[in-house]
Symmetry: D2
Amino acid sequence: MIIVMKAQATEEQIQHVKEMIREMGLIDHPIKGSELTVVAAIGDDRKKDSNALEQAPGVDRVVPILAPYKMASLETQPERTLVRISDECVIGGKHIPVIAGPCSVESEAQILESAHAVRAAGAHALRGGAFKPRTNPYCFQGHGEDGLKMLAAAREATGLAIVTEVLTPSEVDVVSKYADCLQVGTRNSQNFKLLEACGKQPRPVLLKRGMAMTIDELLQAAEYILSMGNPNVILCERGIRTFENHTRNTLSLSAVPELHQRTHLPILIDPSHGTGHARLVGDMARAAVAANCDALAIEMHPDPEHAWTDGAQSVTPAALTEMMGTLKRVAEAVDRSV
Amino acid sequence: MIIVMKAQATEEQIQHVKEMIREMGLIDHPIKGSELTVVAAIGDDRKKDSNALEQAPGVDRVVPILAPYKMASLETQPERTLVRISDECVIGGKHIPVIAGPCSVESEAQILESAHAVRAAGAHALRGGAFKPRTNPYCFQGHGEDGLKMLAAAREATGLAIVTEVLTPSEVDVVSKYADCLQVGTRNSQNFKLLEACGKQPRPVLLKRGMAMTIDELLQAAEYILSMGNPNVILCERGIRTFENHTRNTLSLSAVPELHQRTHLPILIDPSHGTGHARLVGDMARAAVAANCDALAIEMHPDPEHAWTDGAQSVTPAALTEMMGTLKRVAEAVDRSV
Amino acid sequence: MIIVMKAQATEEQIQHVKEMIREMGLIDHPIKGSELTVVAAIGDDRKKDSNALEQAPGVDRVVPILAPYKMASLETQPERTLVRISDECVIGGKHIPVIAGPCSVESEAQILESAHAVRAAGAHALRGGAFKPRTNPYCFQGHGEDGLKMLAAAREATGLAIVTEVLTPSEVDVVSKYADCLQVGTRNSQNFKLLEACGKQPRPVLLKRGMAMTIDELLQAAEYILSMGNPNVILCERGIRTFENHTRNTLSLSAVPELHQRTHLPILIDPSHGTGHARLVGDMARAAVAANCDALAIEMHPDPEHAWTDGAQSVTPAALTEMMGTLKRVAEAVDRSV
Amino acid sequence: MIIVMKAQATEEQIQHVKEMIREMGLIDHPIKGSELTVVAAIGDDRKKDSNALEQAPGVDRVVPILAPYKMASLETQPERTLVRISDECVIGGKHIPVIAGPCSVESEAQILESAHAVRAAGAHALRGGAFKPRTNPYCFQGHGEDGLKMLAAAREATGLAIVTEVLTPSEVDVVSKYADCLQVGTRNSQNFKLLEACGKQPRPVLLKRGMAMTIDELLQAAEYILSMGNPNVILCERGIRTFENHTRNTLSLSAVPELHQRTHLPILIDPSHGTGHARLVGDMARAAVAANCDALAIEMHPDPEHAWTDGAQSVTPAALTEMMGTLKRVAEAVDRSV
């Protein structure tokens, strides 16, 4: 890190900062500039809480230099991570799998119909929520383990792997028992106890970016899972919260190349939550593929008008089928496949 | 809610929307305007997931009319809620208690010294974290139950009530056993399982606003706790995430009067997280009192330069003592007391 | 618009709102719901300042229903606008022109070299700033009319049409004399006097979205130009300001389909300002084409390391040439051409 | 500035960066850390466009160290600037003047009535717009010079100094002729030609922060005015644009102490635009005073329900009178006066 001193900082204050740096086990290296002095602190400060240095007299601010994550970094692991959810759904290579399905598992019939539609459209895995995080306490909260069983039945019927959300550490085991991939939702992206629990079970984890999470914080959240022993993390950009009000969130596709330049972990794009409106999903899915994402998650419902949750952003089976065709063409144009 | 039709919507499409409204158990009431038609849906739609209506052909958008919370609403309960943490720390009346203390419980000596400083400064309760949510997995995660015991010892020594954070449902019981008030942090503000668990235990809950949470979502999060049977919720504004980079967060003080006009629950301001810099805390604390907040939480550390966590935003005991004096004067100016 | 009354609003207060609506020349239509009353105001209220209604006693809020623009609306003009900058640069049809060039015109040699590189890469028009809006008053402010002459010489040499920025009404004439298309920058997107002046001259206008501008406000800014008699407006998404800090701005590609569903005006994407880093521009340009944009603006400099302005986001001639090849492939995949 | 190299940067790449730094007339100073190398560039780089350095091979990013403004800096001028608009309205000292009045000058009678109300309430200057920047081209655009004459008549009648907005360089002279202080609005905060024109005339300038402007950018905008020879700049925080939707903007009061720690220029708070709702203005005005602001601007209208513009955020004369009383009390509590 670099400690920027105030222009009027005294020699004594600079000396004090140098001592504080040494106390932290780092090497101090002051540089006197034309206007002010900065003190570089040399060494690995990533496991230190260095913002307290700002309180030392004469300090203007502390500028971190090293990225705050290690295992997730491309510098630590230069080869790309391949996450295998099933034979047809391996994320991180040339093939871009599409995970599709309804927001919620509503009934056995609905999830079965959805799974058949996903299979017919040529998508590669089934998504659907059994444990639902709902902003409104009075709304449908999911069928719980019964929902997981319905998902398992749909897998049985179609061969599609299952991706489903887990909300709390005590439910990790049951979700892990049924699912092929666990999803950590945007509201739980810094639920560190849940991240740790996901890091200790064997299934891949689809980690959604929080609504107000920076790229660095997303990689630190992934680091929680990685550092517990689970290397199979898929990062998901699903829109961030901004002043823009024509969409539910603002899908930030530049996160794809940025993350590819920082981490070896694969990046999935969720254009359904990223826009909140079915009428925008197709264009954003195509854009995501052109931006070089590694996978897509698309909300699809057999009857969006009557979906119990997230109906506005769910596409129909027909729209998904048509979308798959155009996604394949765009993928080829960037030397990938869908 | 109001369903706004597109200008070119057909009679048939309007008819279909009317039927969908009736299916939901609501009464449809179409209004033909000069440019387009809107259809009002009459009845309590707060427990319905109505955004799927957007998918009906000819619909432009769905505009909710009713607030999405009930028990938290001033319309449901016009009298203000008084939350009693201890005899000297009752929140929601004319008196504005100050809860102060370090970010983390570091040792028995440190928390004891902190508690004595809080008492000497004239503040009304002690805060300190035993279970710490850390963005970086390699940083100090708190002393856990040992930390709770140190807090209890500090209460024993000073008589100050204790406010401390809980991170996950399985730890609610142990925190509830030691603490006088449970804190739910900003990263857990939509950890609905944790909110439910807090709603089922007897201690008051200090609920922090999420970094990207709207006022409506904050009140819905409170509703989770209220609807489980715990009426003692204190809402906390602690800064939201914006483009502004001179502070860690942007403290939105207009949340105070806005919340007072929407809910009977008391509002606490946390200027420490709200700014991230000790040098801004005093002015923002005074502003919060002038804005009519009901309580304050101030991070104070006996030695901020060496604080294990959040050192940059912690004030010294001397600064707290001086601040208490000016807070009292501002409080009097708005017919309150500190 | 819809006026939402408070739950406890009296009959008299509702009556007063009805009268205010009639005073505005609109028709009032109250609807009593189960929880509260709303009053619809029927008629074209787009030219009225109706937010004062919020002040009437008993009113909770005012919800606008009609879009606040008219001429820019797809409902007013269902056929797409084609903006012709030159024979090879017509924006709004199947072909997606690429406008490329340096941020600033630095010298005759530099802009000539740039123009030849743009032509060689197969792009369709030349951009370059002669009047530069600089955040820092001490930085290079552009060569002014001399820069315009250098641009004209580059057009002479290569046949490429010229797009260049205008900063203030008094310079509209001189810029209009040399340029084929005027650019209004993001910091001037609500400089209404400039918009009016651009609306009164004959050249097409490339209107950049403000950093904090909603879609509705962008269309209202376009309306200023349209209503002055100039129908040739190209809307430009160039990134909005958010908390995200890995990019200079957050490029919001969902603006493309959203705008296409609201307006007949063509949409250009600027991935250079949208990201701020040359290393992200290619992926975002490809994503923009896949999202169905109508044109692209790419900052290219013969020697980015030594660019006087915006060097970090300028690609090299070689990178532009390679990019054009991939853009063509992506365009074909979505039935467009580049 | 500090150039952070990538971990895998070669010696040759570091050498190249050192040469580029020398080319810029700065001194290079490399520091080899445990993980990577940084190169400090010593010297005043504030007038250089250094972001192009990011393009050099092996560079990860460029970190600026010096603040990008000079004349506005507290380091350049340690004593506070006092801006004198009139005898009773001097901004920057212990007294906190209140500037009040309607958003728009609607008629001679209206502005006269307003001025008398401002005087009666005990406020210190009159605000009112003659040239109005309107988002919607079809809404009232102000009475222009006739409006300025009405303002002058109101000054004549009450002795109150006049603060009014200027929109474009060509109108600076006429506004400067009538007004005691020129206002530059939020949408023109980076209209650099207007800032320059305001810097060349003799009246004080009230510079509003842009909706998406950082503190550094605000001070650079002020620097445009200062560097043209006009030292009398008042900075105005009037709310920034965020995701928060209960207010028109998010009033960021922490800008007050932050600016006081960076600049000698006085800070005015505009709680009317900062909230957008009259019902929130009083609490935010009191909070602003407690936060140590140097002046306030309050929108007041004799009949807010019928205000032509910004009715929702205008308080009544009675509310202003009452507010002045409470502001005085809060000011005393922080050793200031109103």
